[in-house]
Subunit: 185 residues, 2 copies
């Protein structure tokens, strides 16, 4: 194949659940190249869609959360985020996650975009919800193992925090990128 | 616990390999909250570090790649990326991935930043390498199942492509974000 040719869509063959890991499954799926006729087994993480929330106060402060993350075994500064329930649309999910994690509620919730967390090995999407004029009006409602610190960060400081490595969560960075594409400083 | 208290660092207890999925393992690890004393089992994807490359020509064009991705079962437009070899540093890895996937070689390779792809359920990092004045000088050298289309995109069009949903890979978006933080248009 010449480099300039278009890549082909592989044909999906049999797929099995290789491991059930509660918040995601690992699928082992056989694919076949339509031209080369070669086949291979590929592992894919099967997960519900995720949601990230860029919530901004009337004074142009970003709502951030800090919590222990079991993947990196350390605290992580992020925007509020979570797993969409099966019966939710992204806006409902974003409003719920923001309220449960931080007690903040706002107005004008809007879908700012969506991304694939990792097209190579994951099949789910992550939606980005913007919520405006938020304020803390209710108690938090954490899941069993959650313990979340809420901080307000002036929007004008976010770029410095990104450049300084304070935000490390890829999906938080993407959420902020969508927000600033629509609402440049 | 009051909302304003700092979150605690959980203590790591026993960890087992729950599933070996070739390019990653799934660990099942027991953690214990130091104050609540509650315990829980958490699944973590254990993977090598990854690398993404923002490669730019002398004419200010971004090198992009398009390929079939088994996670989403569709083609995906991205920046060059891959898995770091165990004996590589991020710059070596970025230079190698760019050359293997696209045949492009450049100068002034630099580390633009690093992120966690997903601190909640993954333990690895993704480093972002910038490479300047790149040009296509060698043949591609694809892995067994790779089939990659290379396209040059003027840097000035990248924001429109992001807003238009042409780039969906979270790690590509983060790479571009780091590049534009350092080199604004």
């Amino acid at each position: 194949m010449a480099d300039s040719d278009k890549p082909h869509l592989w044909e999906k063959k049999v797929s099995i659940v290789y491991a059930d890991c509660r918040i995601f499954k690992v699928l082992k799926t056989r694919f076949r190249h339509p031209v080369r006729k070669s086949e291979g087994d590929f592992f894919v993480i099967d997960a519900s869609s995720w949601i990230t929330v860029v919530a901004v106060t009337k004074r142009q402060e970003l709502v951030t959360v800090r919590q222990f993350r079991f993947g990196i075994e350390d605290l992580s500064l992020e925007v509020p985020a979570g797993v969409m329930e099966s019966d939710e649309d992204p806006l409902e999910s974003g409003i719920r996650e923001l309220r449960e994690e931080t007690g903040f509620v706002g107005e004008g919730a809007e879908l700012l975009g969506w991304i694939y967390p990792n097209p190579a090995i994951q099949n789910n999407r992550c939606h980005v919800v913007g919520i405006h004029n938020v304020k803390q009006v209710t108690k938090t409602h954490w899941d069993e193992h959650e313990e979340i610190e809420t901080r307000l960060v002036p929007l004008g400081q976010v770029a410095d925090l990104l450049a300084g490595g304070e935000f490390r969560h890829a999906l938080s960075l993407c959420a902020l990128q969508f927000y600033f594409l629509k609402y440049p400083l």
